[in-house]
């Protein structure tokens, strides 16, 4: 402790700095270019130092929005997102955003102000037990009570957030720690006895996995968000091409494998493709990489992939055999392990298997009633995909529109689909689009949203206006909490208890907030409306009045096996 590094302070003299300056200097040292946050009493010393810093600072309208922005910034870039909030309500407003990032393994560093150390525990004004409240929704959190510990703690936070299975880390910093001066300490090698990351896969496990792959007649790769966080999309493609493997992805894995390729089986799971779900149920080898067998993916566990041996590649040992028993676990970094597997796998033709997959793919494509007179939400997305050539960054809220965005937009690149998968956070879409646009200023960023999700955080439209971000909101407005309504229709005898909304005039709201707003309620107008939206350089919303009772198909109902999908007959009648 207290050992000074040689690489830090220049010259022989010790440099003294207040905690607030140390925070800013380390953020810069860590390469932070954009950060998000909201002011408040106990973070004023920090904001005073931020005033002179090169970091671009974005003020949302609500801390939750800011946290989602930082999260989406991280999802779009792979860098650590940074969010600042004041004590008490500022910190509690972060909880949903932290939990969202935690469930989806997104690297975030949250800095919260805290009341002065002498007041902690006294129910002071705007005091909350921030570390207590956020412990279950962070990968790690810590309160810094001694300014001497501040520098190392922040560096460790970035390290923990971005390595291993990434996640949010929160640092709670009392206001007196921000103003107290201490000796500046430069960076040194991080050594945390309780935090060791194993990235290299066990050689014997890798060779066992390779043998299983080479011997498999009906293999399927089931790739998840771990491919994206490991930056392993290229390796996945090479691996799948070399060994000749079909690939299905999870919701969060969308984009990690080019969906325009023949070998892509698109998304699996509750609202996944019939061909992906059949493939999983019929395969003799399931190769899970960076995915975690979530219940929305597996359906009824007792019938999940019963004919298959399972390989599971994951950086988190606790993910292995948590939900599904794994035959060949390989703990480590997906990129490193894929590179080793590429060297060990052989090309196998597997004609019968690929013929079978092609047959399913042809028989059960994602579809909808294209002859309908109403605006079908799927149509809007399909047209949007066509007009953007499948290259836009798509953010979503949560619900039906999210599933249609997963089904009908075909993703080609990692970090192109930005959505709250694990926690299912409604209201994520708009702030996520803002965060992604800040990360990728030249990209076309579109929030495909539902009316109910959008209602939750629409106030952030004025953030987009303030920072002149050309984000686009493609609002699929059905006047319902669509997914809830679908469940009520299917499982509660069409009793639409509390699921319909009296919405505002969204186009007028957008205009009032300084954005462009438009309504589109005719099918024939959809292409032109989307063209205008894509050409717009200001923040822009188009309120598409879509078919109010459209459902997401296929669907694996709760308690059903993946092969027991509902809606396939509806599919067939339409296509």
């Amino acid at each position: 402790m207290g050992k000074k590094s040689s690489s830090g302070a220049p010259g022989a003299g010790t440099i003294r700095k207040p905690g607030s300056q140390i925070i800013v200097d380390i953020l810069v040292e860590q390469g932070v270019e954009v950060m998000f946050g909201y002011l408040g009493g106990v973070v004023l010393p920090l904001f005073d130092k931020l005033y002179d810093s090169p970091i671009k600072f974005i003020i949302p309208r609500h801390e939750q929005g800011g946290c989602h922005m930082a999260d989406a910034y991280a999802r779009a870039t792979g860098k650590v997102g940074v969010i600042v909030a004041t004590s008490g309500p500022g910190a509690t407003n972060l909880v949903t955003g932290l939990a969202t990032a935690m469930m989806d393994s997104i690297p975030l560093v949250a800095i919260t102000g805290q009341v002065r150390t002498t007041l902690i525990g006294n129910d002071a004004f705007q005091e909350a037990d921030t570390t207590g409240i956020t412990r279950p929704v962070t990968k790690h959190n810590v309160i810094v009570k001694d300014v001497a510990d501040l520098a190392d703690t922040i560096r460790e936070a970035f390290y923990i957030a971005s390595t291993g299975r990434p996640g949010p880390v929160l640092i709670d910093i009392p206001v007196d720690v921000q103003v107290t001066e201490t000796d500046w300490k430069g960076p040194k090698e991080i050594n945390m006895p309780g935090y060791k990351v194993r990235t290299r896969g066990h050689a014997r496990q890798i060779s066992t996995a390779a043998t299983a792959i080479n011997n498999s007649k009906r293999p399927v790769v089931y790739a998840g968000g771990g491919i994206i966080s490991a930056g392993a999309s290229d390796e996945l493609r090479t691996f799948a091409e070399k060994a000749n493997l079909p690939v299905t992805t999870t919701l969060l894995g969308l984009g990690c494998y080019d969906q325009t390729k023949d070998e892509s089986l698109d998304m699996l799971g509750m609202h996944g493709s019939a061909y992906a779900n059949y493939a999983v149920q019929e395969c003799d080898l399931l190769i899970a990489i960076g995915s975690r067998f979530e219940d929305r993916v597996t359906g009824k566990l007792a019938t999940f992939a019963q004919k298959a041996k399972i390989i599971h590649v994951d950086i988190d040992p606790a993910s292995i055999s948590k939900n599904v028993y794994v035959d060949i676990p390989v703990v480590g970094d997906a990129k490193e392990i894929l590179n080793e597997l590429i060297g060990a796998v052989e090309h196998k033709e597997r004609k019968e298997w690929f013929d079978m997959l092609a047959k399913w793919k042809k028989k059960h494509p994602f579809t909808y009633n294209r002859r309908a007179k109403t605006i079908k939400p799927q149509y809007v997305i399909e047209e949007l995909c066509r007009q953007t050539n499948g290259d836009a960054i798509i953010a979503t809220g949560v619900g039906q529109h999210q599933m249609w965005s997963a089904q009908f937009y075909k993703y080609k690149h990692p970090r192109q689909f930005i959505s709250s998968g694990g926690l299912g956070t409604m209201g994520f879409g708009l702030p996520a689009a803002i965060g992604a646009q800040l990360a990728m200023p030249d990209a076309t960023v579109i929030d495909i949203d539902g009316d109910s999700s959008f209602n939750m955080t629409l106030t952030e439209m004025s953030t987009a206006v303030m920072y002149e971000l050309p984000i686009k909101v493609c609002l699929l407005n059905n006047g319902y909490m669509g997914m809830v309504r679908q469940w009520q229709e299917l499982f509660y005898g069409k009793r639409y208890s509390q699921s319909s909304l009296k919405n505002p005039n969204f186009a007028a709201v957008a205009k009032a907030l300084g954005a462009v707003g438009e309504v589109c309620d005719k099918k024939a107008d959809v292409p032109a409306a989307l063209e205008r939206m894509l050409a717009e350089t200001r923040p822009c919303l188009i309120d598409f009045h879509v078919d109010p009772e459209e459902n997401v198909w296929p669907m694996v109902a709760a308690g059903k096996g993946l092969h027991e999908m509902d809606g396939l007959d509806i599919f067939e009648s339409m296509s």
Binding site: G132, R135, N141, V142, I143, I160, M192, G194, A318, S321
Partner: protein, 164 residues
């Protein structure tokens, strides 16, 4: 099945809350939990007795290992180790019953630590089975109060094989 898990943790505030919170959040059952310092002032040791099948206990071990403030986790299942509980127990002891009770205490290798006019306070240390047996033996006389530390355990050195 009961498993004894030993976790070496950083001696920092919030670690106990983190462990307890993780158990609650993941619906794992703690049978007992004992925390104390180690020879290294920076480290404490938690000995946690967990009830569950092998798969549950495997998850407990992995989830504990994930906590950043936890340095090392060991499941003692299948290990050659010594496990001990400490208990203070007050048993009703009228003057006429006292000799009987004192004989019982002697038999268990327990120790009288306090005597009142109507009770005897006993300190018992040993494997959990012995503690349970002592409680059973005292029940007919009337157990007035008891407190237990929970199990603590330590691996044996490899050369010694016999369990006491």
């Amino acid at each position: 099945m009961k498993h004894i898990i030993s976790a070496l943790v950083l001696n920092k505030p919030g670690v106990l809350a983190h462990v307890a919170g993780m158990f609650a959040a993941r619906a794992f059952n703690i049978d007992s939990l004992a925390v104390g310092r180690t020879e290294d002032p920076k480290l404490s040791r938690m000995t946690i007795v967990v009830v569950g099948d092998d798969r549950v206990v495997e998850q407990v071990r992995k989830q504990l290992a994930k906590i950043v403030s936890i340095v090392k986790v060991q499941d003692f299942a299948g290990h050659d180790m010594v496990a001990r509980d400490l208990m203070l127990l007050s048993v009703a002891a009228t003057p006429e019953k006292r000799p009987e009770i004192l004989a019982l205490i002697e038999m268990f290798g327990a120790k009288v630590v306090d005597i009142g006019s109507k009770y005897v306070m006993v300190e018992v240390c040993g494997p959990e089975s012995k503690i349970e047996a002592f409680i059973d033996a005292c029940r007919p006389y009337g157990v007035k109060d008891m407190v237990r530390t929970g199990t603590v355990a330590m691996s044996r050195q490899k050369s010694r094989t016999q369990t006491v």
